[in-house]
Amino acid sequence: MATLKNTFREIARYPSAIFGGIIVLLLVALAIFAMIKIPYAEAIRLWRGGEEVWYQNPKNVPPTWVNAFRKTKLPESFAVKAIEGGDFSKTVTTNADGTKAIDFAYEFDFEADDFPQEMFIYFDAAYAAKAPFVSVTLVRPDGSEVKIGDFGVTHKYTYRFSQDERLVKRVNRLMHREIINPVEGLFAVPETEPSQPLKGTYKLVMQATTFEKDSDLDAEFVSHGQVSGLFGTDHARRDLTIPMLWGAPIALAFGLLAALGTSVLSMIIAAIGAWFGGWLDELIQRITEINLVLPFLAILIMIGTFYSRSIWVILGVTIALSIFTGAIKTNRAIFLQVKESTYIEAARAYGATDWRIIFKYLIPRIIPLLIPALVSAVPGYVFLEASLAVLGLGDPVLPTWGKIINDAETYNALYKGFYYWILEPAVLLMFTGLGFAMLGFSLDRIFNPKLRGM
């Protein structure tokens, strides 16, 4: 206990260790948070779902917080469902003949300096033979009313503002000029070129009539703004929050497991080789030399292309290919020295078995050297996993940081100016690398006596 305390006190003497440790702890916290907040199955559903999961999100927009750094504020996205007595109010009046008049109203403030991408109204109508009829109007802050449309609503009906030709004409009449996107016109000051947003409180009014006794109508009003969520969205309207959060546990798990598996296994194998010697040692050394000349990344790409891209297969192959590397040679050199110590001979004399000597006498001597090496090795494997994903060989199921960069690259994010799409995962990857590297270097200074006092 006291030694543990001393170790921590020693670590605390290095600011880089504290800083690196904080980054690593934050990443671990992020990973745990991600796994609790969005369970694995849910994350996969949200990531691989489809239009029905992503319909509320705009396409390729940066995160909400960019507004904090902008002079011209971008409109935020929102989605509201009509509830009786809610913000998007729904009032049902039943007539004597069984028909119903349903009134919807939604008041919202529009204070942005740019226009929403697109707007939708999703209807869900319940009826047997005769579909309900709706008329939609937008009341603007200047008091003008714009008729958006009158239409019959089939069971699942989506009204898209931008695809209504009649709305385009109506808006152009209102604005006295040609505007291609009617959403822009609905929120603009008339007769200005280019369009200036008209700020103030808007009101969406819908009047519906149903013609059957059990008929009912529900509506959801969705506005695709130009910013969305904590991390923005991608080309498929997916919220990048999922892969940004879930990237942490995946990257940490891959990095830590690969680093731990590789260093522990190569240490044990080196110890076995050094202790038993003879043909076994020769075999291990020859395998190492052969493995050292094999192209590591090329083999991984081959496996990803022809066999499997599952992260577990890739992890296994990574560990298998990384065991027999230089670490075997350095560990063996240390073990050969330790093996000749008197206390090893003493252990043999009192009848310790070979395995007891390997695990209780040889290996503990190397653990102080192993810990910093292990910590320093983690970012290498995190980057490896990301590199494979960037090369298009990431696990097809999992949302990872590398995958986002790959998507961004495929859909020309930089060319189109979607910097957030590449920078967000890149920054997280760099912080991971920085955290582990700083912690690893300072641990190396603590555990490696040759570096003391430097």
Binding site: T342, E345, A346, A349, Y350, G351, A352, T353, R356, K360
Partner: protein
């Protein structure tokens, strides 16, 4: 030659040859000696005469480059040469015979607490639970005079003398009948040496343990010795009762060796032996000491016989 039951340890024609780049080193070349229960035999000789190799050969701690390993080692009536390595490990090491290695100060595992390490042989050989083994270790610590609260320390936190005591505690924890000590006091100051020898004497009387003490320090070892075996160039040249040996060594080499020890009283200058010990790669034929022997005569070019005088033995033509 059958083994005589009265001996605890009976070594017959024990040989241990090493293969090196220069040739075969005959480090132990036909050694015979016997040890009765509760006796201490001191094996003395110059550096490089094969003392440590003899200890290794008796305990079968062989390095990789062994060229020849043969002879017979009886422990009571168990012939150990016939055992496989695994049987040997289970039946002999630390059960019948234990070792305090040379430079015992470095023979403790630096990453284990000394208490754990003393308890290790108990756990390995008798499969006892750790806390039980620790109880035994505590008992041994008390026995060899190490404060009990040292059990949680690491070897580097102990002084040389304490480490030596811990090593001795470890050799005694399974209560073997025979303990081999390979230069147990070579790196200690005289006061600590005296303490360690007093401790060994006490153990010998209390636990009825037998010792094979390998040393080049004749003066100190005389404290403990019941019998003395003198080793020269891989062979035992004289085995004698300690009292007789210190009064009147029979072999000329023993005599020279005794004369080289400075004496507290008297005016005798310490003597020395001219020349170098022979190379064990290509030992001379006949008596191996002949080239340096002040009393050599014609017959010395032939292999000397082992002459038995009472219980003592000497390998010299002078006593034929």
């Amino acid at each position: 030659m059958a083994n005589d039951k009265q001996f605890l340890l009976d070594i017959q024609e024990l040989k241990l040859h090493f293969r090196t780049t220069k040739g075969v080193v005959q480090a132990v070349d036909g050694v015979n000696f016997q040890l009765k229960p509760n006796q201490a035999v001191v094996v003395v000789g110059e550096s490089g005469c094969g003392k440590t190799s003899l200890a290794k050969a008796i305990l079968r701690l062989l390095p990789r480059n062994v060229q020849h390993y043969g002879g017979k080692v009886y422990l009571n009536d168990l012939e150990t040469m016939g055992l496989t390595d695994e049987e040997y490990r289970k039946q002999v090491r630390w059960i019948k015979m234990s070792l305090v290695p040379q430079a015992a100060m470095n023979s403790l595992n630096p990453v284990l607490r000394v208490g754990d390490q003393v308890a290790e042989p108990m756990m390995i050989h008798y499969g006892v639970k750790k806390d039980e083994a620790m109880q035994q270790a505590i008992k041994m610590f008390q026995h060899v005079g190490v404060p009990v609260d040292f059990i949680n320390r690491y070897a580097f936190e102990l002084s040389g003398g304490m480490r030596q005591r811990v090593a001795i505690a470890m050799s005694l924890v399974t209560a073997p009948a025979l303990v081999m000590l390979d230069e147990p006091t070579s790196a200690l100051d005289v006061l600590t040496q005296a303490n360690i020898f007093n401790l060994l004497k006490r153990i010998k009387s209390e636990m009825a343990t037998s010792f094979v003490l390998i040393t080049h320090d004749i003066a100190t070892s005389s404290e403990l010795a019941d019998r003395v075996a003198v080793m020269y160039a891989g062979q035992i040249v004289e085995v004698a009762d300690a009292f007789t040996f210190f009064k009147q060594p029979r072999h000329p080499y023993s005599a020279k060796l005794m004369a080289s020890v400075p004496k507290l009283r008297g005016n005798d200058e310490p003597d020395f032996i001219t020349g170098q010990p022979p190379s064990l790669i290509n030992p001379p034929t006949g008596c191996r000491f002949a080239a340096r022997c002040p009393k050599r005569f014609g017959k010395c070019s032939e292999e000397p016989p082992t002459v038995t005088i009472g219980e003592d033995k000497v390998k010299c033509w002078l006593h034929v």
